[in-house]
Amino acid sequence: MSKTINIKQGLNINLQGEAEKIIADVEAGQYAIKPIDFHGVFPKLLVHEGDKVKAGTQIFYDKYRDNIKFSSPVSGTVKEIRRGAKRVLLEVSIEADAEQSFIDFGIADPNSLKREAIIEKMLESGVWPVIRQRPYTVIANPKDEPKAIFISGFDTAPLGVDFDLIVHGQGDAFQAGVDALKKLTPGIVHLNLPAGDANSKVFTNSKNVQINFFKGPHPSGNIGTQINKLDPINKDEVVWHLKPQEVLTIGRLFLEGRFNAERIIALTGSEVIKPKYFKTKIGASIAEIVKENIIEENVRYISGNALTGRKIDKVGFVGFFDNQITVIPEGDYHELFGWALPGFGKFSFSKSFPTFLNGKNKKYRLDTNLHGGERAFVMTGEMEKVFPFDIYPMQLIKSIMIEDIDAMEQLGIYEVDEEDFALIEYIDTSKIDIQAIVRKGIDVMRKEMS
């Protein structure tokens, strides 16, 4: 029973620097696990600097849900345990061995395992955190029974990666992953693909899933949009969601019996000389990836896409859930009469710049300048144009700002995540940090409900 869903509201932001469809091998040398990638996790460390670890050795666990453990993606030596203000654990970095060794968790066929055994295996190996849940976008609770599981098989974000390329030839691992997921829910495992494209056989041939097609601009590839259109979350309901590479990680656990943290990461952005894909592992250091491949110095390195990613250092590490690195110019300059000049070459969702005459396929080099000062909410009706949910975005944002728990719940906070508001934040005339507000609302709500 596959459906095609047409998304009308939204915006594709075409940036320069799309990754060429070549996959290069890279030895990153250093890898790191960053607790900041996992909302609501309070890490309790299990290793010390200098300890020898294998791929699959537990590094830390969550203080409040101690069955959720995080493992090393590689074998090697714990190089540095970096802490920030108030001794908050920022990252645990590991220097990889030349020869990789893995902890053996045992090969198994998920179809013949019980639900508990699958969960147990995933928890012990540190693979479990790849599954996240809504509401709150935190790591799934193994005690929950989600009403459905969603996999978004495409990425519509700026310079989004091509999952068809990434999963190419990995049909067995993908199927094994899906089979395991199928055991975790009494409901449907949804696999969402772009309508009209020649999708990879890995996706279209997979069993135990319901394939749905989505048409339309970003955020049609966002999991939040897809859940809202297919099976919206009501109060007290839980759904789980993943991206294709995370399904592969689960699949490999069962096929190979080990935590194989392989990831294919796209290096994208206008400041990259040769944007392309790299085969590496979860939490790879970007130092080797970006080496001698960046045009100039004053740039921002982002783990993730330009709308929702996290700023990292040029010797930083790729985030746990990220499939791409984006490098765009910093915007720390003053522009004389920038608001008044016609602005040829300035991309805008509004038609107040002549660039809309260029059509929808022109690619732009956008920087990190705010392009204005922060103001109170003035404009109305803009947000709805890029927000395909059946939710009133401005009213929800305002209810979060005043921390009105009842209103937040009534207006649909359970259905959203900050990434769903990224486009709203992008087009906002008042330059308000809307994603931060939404995250605050979600955190308040989670605390309230626990």
Binding site: E330, G331, W339, G372, A376, M394
Partner: protein, 387 residues
């Protein structure tokens, strides 16, 4: 241009915290950001942001109003010399009007921005751009002979009572420009209505009534200017509201750029036209001697402040309805109320101002019920899921 930047950078520390003039920080920032888009970069959330900002948005509204304003200046001269029985060149007409209007614009901006700067300073905020629009709209909706001191008082009233007491731009309930107009209307009625005020330095013998004034006193339909004169704007009236055509040009600019809401504009016209048509039908039966009832419906849309109100006043996003569905209801009710007041209320010849202010007050209520509908839908869905 580098030199200008260097000067600004060198004096900037004096306005920062701890500097000699730190109490003037907001004012300094206002001027600096007027010259330069700031070098602020994104810290959290989306790393890239749209190029549009509040300054550009407001600048587009001002640009959209300029054609009607320029025509208004010319029309003041034209009406003046017409009342004298003289014909002069286009430039003489314009110059006469320019000399009348320019001081009003200056007073409106100086008083309004002055107050905005003071409040921004006191609150430690940046100066908001909202008044850039109010400052041009206020002169456009007053009669050409309005004394400057009245403009000053009305502007001060609008900014302080209409806006700042609620918390400034974005927080106000009523449209600030219309608040100024309403203040004048009720405080100085003799200078704001009747048939003396609409033509600058009118010759005494000449009738200077607006079409709306004619209708209120039940003068025959034939005494009205032609529909084409009213559409193009060759009639007496407030400074910027006579030319429906140029107001529509402004509307096109606002709609194309996506800055003004087409839903509100369209629905105001629909509401006004609808009720007026209804009056046309029932007029002969219920009130045969009310000339206003028999007025062809489209006349309502080109007379008085109807078009100007629909395009520039009702669309103020802060005081209008904020939901898309709400905008339809809000707009239609404005059109309906405006025609209702014109036709049925014997005291006021024009109803647009009061209609918009009234609906400004009701806009939050409309939104409340629209949002409530969405909430109900969500609750119903949750209940279905349980059963």
């Amino acid at each position: 241009m580098k030199a200008l930047r260097n000067i600004i950078d060198s004096i900037k520390p004096q306005f920062e915290k701890g500097g000699k003039f730190s109490y003037l920080k907001s004012s300094f920032e206002a001027f600096e950001t007027f010259l330069y888009v700031p070098n602020h970069t994104t810290k959290t959330g989306s790393h890239i942001r749209d190029h549009i900002d509040m300054k550009r948005t407001m600048a587009f509204v001002v640009m959209a109003a300029i054609p009607a304003l320029l025509f208004g200046m010319w029309n003041i001269g034209y009406q003046h010399f017409l009342s004298m029985g003289e014909t002069v060149s286009l430039w003489e007409n314009f110059l006469f009007g320019f000399i009348k209007v320019f001081p009003i614009i200056v007073v409106s901006y100086v008083v309004g921005l002055g107050i905005e700067f003071i409040f921004a300073q006191l609150r430690g905020h940046e100066v908001n751009e909202g008044f850039l629009v109010s400052g041009i709209l206020i002169p456009m909706i007053v009669p050409p002979d309005t004394p400057l001191w009245m403009v000053a008082i009305a502007t001060a009233f609008a900014v302080v009572i209409g806006k700042e007491v609620f918390g400034g731009t974005g927080m106000n309930i009523l449209n600030p420009a219309l608040t100024a107009r309403a203040f004048l209307f009720f405080a100085y009625p003799s200078d704001m209505s009747g048939d003396k005020v609409w033509i600058a330095e009118k010759a005494d013998a000449y009738s200077g009534a607006t079409p709306l004034g004619n209708l209120l006193t039940n003068q025959p339909f034939e005494s009205l200017p032609s529909a084409s004169d009213m559409f193009w704007g060759f009639i007496p009236g407030s400074i910027g509201e006579t030319s429906t055509f140029l107001i529509l040009v402004g509307a096109v600019i606002l709609i194309l750029t996506g800055i003004g809401s087409w839903r509100i504009m369209l629905s105001v016209f629909v509401g006004g036209f609808g009720l007026a048509t209804f009056f046309n039908f029932i007029g002969p039966y219920v009130a045969p001697d009310n000339a206003y009832m028999a007025l062809p419906a489209y006349y309502h849309l080109i007379m008085g402040g109807f078009a100007f109100g629909a395009v520039f006043m009702a669309t103020d996003p802060v005081s209008a309805s904020q939901t898309n569905k709400g905008k339809w209801i809000y707009g239609i009710l404005i059109g309906v109320m405006a025609v209702l007041i014109r036709v049925l209320n014997p005291a006021y010849p024009e109803g647009m101002m009061l209609a918009i202010l009234l609906m400004n007050v009701f806009a939050p209520l409309i939104d409340h019920y629209i949002v409530e509908g969405n909430i109900k839908k969500r609750m119903k869905r949750a209940k279905l899921a349980i059963t």
